[in-house]
């Protein structure tokens, strides 16, 4: 693994990965105990991607997220309480309960929102990069999407423009091997990196389970993107531990238990990073265990809070259809 400069950097990334895992375990539990409305898509297993990338970003940098978006949201700086409130449709949620899991947005931290249209945010991220370029803010935008989303034509349209206009955007494809119940090689011809390269876009493949590798590469590319050397494409090899969504329990018809345990046991981003941190003598396993316990407790407290929190008043139903205009 590549090196960060100090312990706090390492621990921040470790903490954020654990926070994502803790969030998802609680969300899954809410579903299993029938306390959550609707379905949701777990990010567990992919934590090193969101954390490795978002740790390289400033709060004013923008990201766009997906249906599998809790990880991006946490990594970009969101709080458990407002996130659980949103998942439960409560007024204190990030979107006052109107968005739910698939539409969490946290614009104060630069998260322009999850999206329930696969690929739907590819233009949005590219447009955020255009804004940054026009206003000369120096911000970059990262567009997260899955391997399945590479089939959407929108991606090619916006890559073309991003390349022509040298926009500061990074297309980050989390290749977790599946889109829903289908293996990636059944729905993607040729090579994903070659698709970006065909537009003159520099493309990289990286191990999405290695948070330091992801982070180090992203930092380099972000710095270059800020100087106008973008856009870039990243293909991150990763894996989702749960089913496509929380209700996808019997999945042996499309992937084996062996494959799942191979990833969970040997390629877990949190476990492996912990081993590395202790191996390097940066932190002890006791300290890590304490971090994990603290975060678990936080998450449980946030869940308890959210379960008790109030729903929005019914009068909110027709609010926010339109943003107000300033008085003339």
């Amino acid at each position: 693994m590549a090196k960060k400069t100090n312990t706090e950097d390492y621990l921040r990334m470790y903490r954020q990965m654990v926070r994502i895992r803790a969030f998802e375990d609680n969300a899954n539990q809410l579903y299993l105990s029938a306390k959550m409305p609707g379905l949701t898509h777990m990010y567990s297993g992919q934590e090193a991607v969101a954390v490795g990338i978002c740790d390289a970003l400033e709060a004013t940098d923008k990201i766009t997220s997906t249906h599998r978006g809790h990880g991006h949201c946490v990594a970009k700086g969101a709080e458990f309480k407002q996130m659980f409130c949103e998942l439960l449709g409560k007024e204190e949620g990030y979107c006052r309960g109107k968005g739910g899991s698939m539409h969490i947005a946290d614009q104060e931290n630069g998260n322009l929102g999850a999206n329930a249209i696969v690929g739907g945010s590819m233009g949005i991220a590219t447009g955020a990069a255009l804004s940054a370029k026009l206003a000369k803010t120096g911000d970059v935008a990262v567009c997260f999407f899955g391997d399945g989303a590479t089939a959407q034509g929108l991606w090619y349209e916006v890559m073309n423009m991003a390349a022509l206009w040298h926009l500061p955007v990074i297309y980050a494809c989390e290749n977790n091997g599946y889109s829903e119940y289908t293996r990636t090689d059944e729905i993607a011809a040729g090579s994903l990196t070659a698709r970006a390269e065909a537009f003159g876009i520099e493309a990289h493949k990286v191990d999405g389970q290695d948070v330091l590798a992801v982070n180090e590469l992203t930092e380099r590319l972000i710095a270059r993107a800020r100087k106008g050397e973008g856009p870039f494409f990243l293909e991150l090899a990763t894996y989702r531990y749960h089913g496509h969504h929380v209700g996808d329990i019997n999945r042996e018809y499309y992937r084996s238990k062996d494959e799942e345990s191979e990833w969970k046991e040997n390629r877990d981003p949190i476990l492996n990073f912990g081993v590395w941190l202790t191996g390097e003598g940066i932190v002890s396993e006791e300290e890590l265990a304490e971090i994990r316990a603290g975060i678990r407790a936080d998450a449980e407290a946030a869940v308890a809070y959210a379960l008790e929190a109030a729903y929005p008043d019914v009068s909110e139903v027709d609010m926010h259809v339109y943003a107000p205009n300033d008085a003339a």
């Binding site: 449709g89 899991s101 999206n115 729905i187 139903v317």
Partner: protein, 331 residues
Amino acid sequence: MREITLSKAVNEAIAEEMRRDPTTFLIGEDVAEAGTPFKVLSGLVEEFGTERVIDTPIAEPGFMGIAVGAALTGSRPIVDLMFGDFIFLIMDQLCNQAAKACYMSGGKLNVPLVLRTNLGATRRSAAQHSQSLHALVAHIPGLKVALPSSAYEAKGLMKTAIRDNNPVVIFEDKLMYQEKALVPEEEFLIPFGEANVKREGTDITLIGTSSMVQVAEAAAEQLASEGISAEVIDPRTIVPLDEATLLESVRKTSRAIVIDEGHQSFGTTAEIASRLNEKAFYHLDAPVLRMGAMDVPVPFSPALEDITVPTAEGVADNARKLCAGEMIHAA
């Protein structure tokens, strides 16, 4: 007759038609082994193979375009669009290409294609997975639009759609997939453009589409117990629309409510109400009332979502007022 779910009814209809006509095939995301997320198509790939039950990448405009091309060249594709909300992605292929090919070619080309998708809120799926967008499609000449309201209807309308020589869009109600109804074992088809009078009545006509047929029926039941006799009609297809049956009813009852799960403004209720007002005006004792979904994106929160859609209580309430001669809108 046996009771089967709507899901099973659709599955049977497609299987029967695929057996009947070797030029039919299914195309869409996760339609084969997975049988769709709603499991509606389970088992079909085992019978018809992956040549005729075709899993696609997540590329709705692409596979819709491919289906149009296949339909122009001797195939009869059945396109599976996982959520009705994704229809926005394929509008060009559906409305600029499929809908117009027959007309633009002076009748030389035609596009025998079925687009099956769904509608309906209250599933806690939020704004991009809950829309009922049939009115958009109905506005475009060249398309037909079917809205099955039960397992029985779903089977009969699907079979008719597959045999139609034109592009037909069928919107199934996602909340109904597991609901059962009596469906004959023998083959049957339900013709397009023939409304179904679900319940006869004399005081008011309740016209409901898709998910709202049950709402209308529940309201009628409630009203009956209060001495108000409501006629309930399911148009089944909104293009073509069986104006005659609707008009006949309204001329008899002199009052009507149109109930639909699409947004009210510029929606299905507007068209049906307009036709009734235009053509039964002198028989009406009160304005035709529209009850569509609220003009708001569908909210996620259960506390908000449920109030965006018409309910049996709301319909009964309005019917009561109309029958009592009360004015519903300040006029």
